[in-house]
């Protein structure tokens, strides 16, 4: 007869327990982050350099760029996002399949950068939730890789059920993104 002990208080609920399946899938996700480069300007060129031979983002399993949002795991927003482009960015984020992460590369994407002007969105976090910000104008490829590594860390430690949780849904709702 096995005696089942109740879980300690405060250690219950969806999306809390990290099982070994969580760990395995987390590792799989972390090592297979397919990026969707939303490269608009200068940072896009540095992102191209990151994909190039000297820096080789492929080492981290991220070289299969998928320009179709459905297939991407990581939205890399590199460059200035203007107000005209904001809705497009939001739609791309919306079209991505869960789980999805967002890497904001460069000062412009993160905060508007030096372009504190009427036409530039002062940071993409007005439109979509961002996981990791990479500073720099533009950041060096090493910094972009560091950002991807940070995303890998997030992916590794995320529970499988996190995306079903109420908190997550509420967070999306603050951005007016519909959840299904």
């Amino acid at each position: 007869m096995v005696k089942v002990v109740d879980a300690p208080e405060g250690f219950e609920g969806q999306g809390f327990f990290a099982t070994s399946l969580d760990t395995v899938i987390g590792m799989a996700r972390a090592n297979s982050l397919w990026p969707l480069p939303f490269a608009t300007s200068c940072c896009g060129i540095e992102f191209m350099a990151t994909m190039g031979a000297n820096y080789d983002l492929a080492r981290f399993g991220s070289e299969r760029m998928s320009f179709s949002p459905r297939q991407a795991d990581l939205l890399i927003v590199a460059g200035t996002i203007s107000k005209k482009l904001g809705p497009v960015l939001k739609q791309v984020y919306d079209q991505m399949a869960e789980p999805k992460w967002v890497l904001s590369v460069g000062a412009c994407a993160s905060s508007g950068g030096i372009f504190d002007t009427y036409s530039v969105l002062q940071g993409i976090d007005h439109v979509i939730p961002v996981d990791v910000y990479v500073p720099g104008c533009p950041p060096r490829p090493e910094q972009i890789i560091e950002g991807v590594l940070k995303i890998q860390h997030l992916a590794k430690n995320e529970s499988l059920r996190r995306r079903d949780s109420d908190e997550y849904r509420k967070m999306l709702e603050t951005y007016n993104i519909e959840t299904t």
Binding site: K83, K84, D116, Y118, S119, Q122
Partner: protein
């Protein structure tokens, strides 16, 4: 033909047609010609057809809110590639009548330059095939390059201007 004599010929030709309101060569050796806005298209047609000015370098506007009845200015550079001569034309517009003939019949390149100028200053280009905003969003309700408008978007929330020394 040397450049200066070709230039003289150009100026003479323009003068004989009565297009030139004011002609100056400044210390940078650039040739400024002020023309009347309503003649602009004829001037360009004449230069293009008779004198071979075949390259519209640039077209833009500027705003001088302090100049009475000459608040806006359309500036365009035009170049003859063979004689290597570049002229700068200006014409002043009053804020009450911001109309300028479109140069698109002569230069296809003028299309977007004029749209940009319209977008920035609100200058109407008469005869333009498709005068819409080009760089800014369509539902923008002002022309941002006019001097009275601020650079920053004043509705933004997250920036505390005291930290930026404004």
């Amino acid at each position: 033909m040397s450049t200066s004599s070709f230039l003289d010929k150009t100026i003479e030709g323009l003068n004989s047609k009565g297009f030139i309101l004011e002609y100056t060569t400044d210390k940078y050796n650039e040739h400024n010609i002020v023309i009347d806005a309503k003649n602009a298209l004829e001037v360009v047609q004449y230069l293009n057809a008779e004198l071979g000015y075949n390259f519209l370098v640039d077209l833009t506007g500027s705003h001088y809110p302090d100049k009475e009845n000459q608040e806006y200015q359309v500036v365009f550079h035009i170049q003859n590639l063979i004689e290597n001569t570049r002229l700068r034309f200006k014409s002043n517009l009053s804020k009450n009548l911001m109309e300028f003939p479109s140069l698109t019949p002569v230069f296809s390149a003028a299309n977007w330059m004029e749209r940009e100028t319209f977008d920035f200053f609100g200058i109407q280009f008469i005869g333009h095939p498709d005068l819409r905003r080009i760089l800014n969003v369509d539902d923008m309700d002002y022309h941002p390059m006019r001097k009275e408008y601020a650079l920053e978007d004043e509705t933004r929330r997250d920036k505390n201007d005291t930290f930026f020394g404004r």
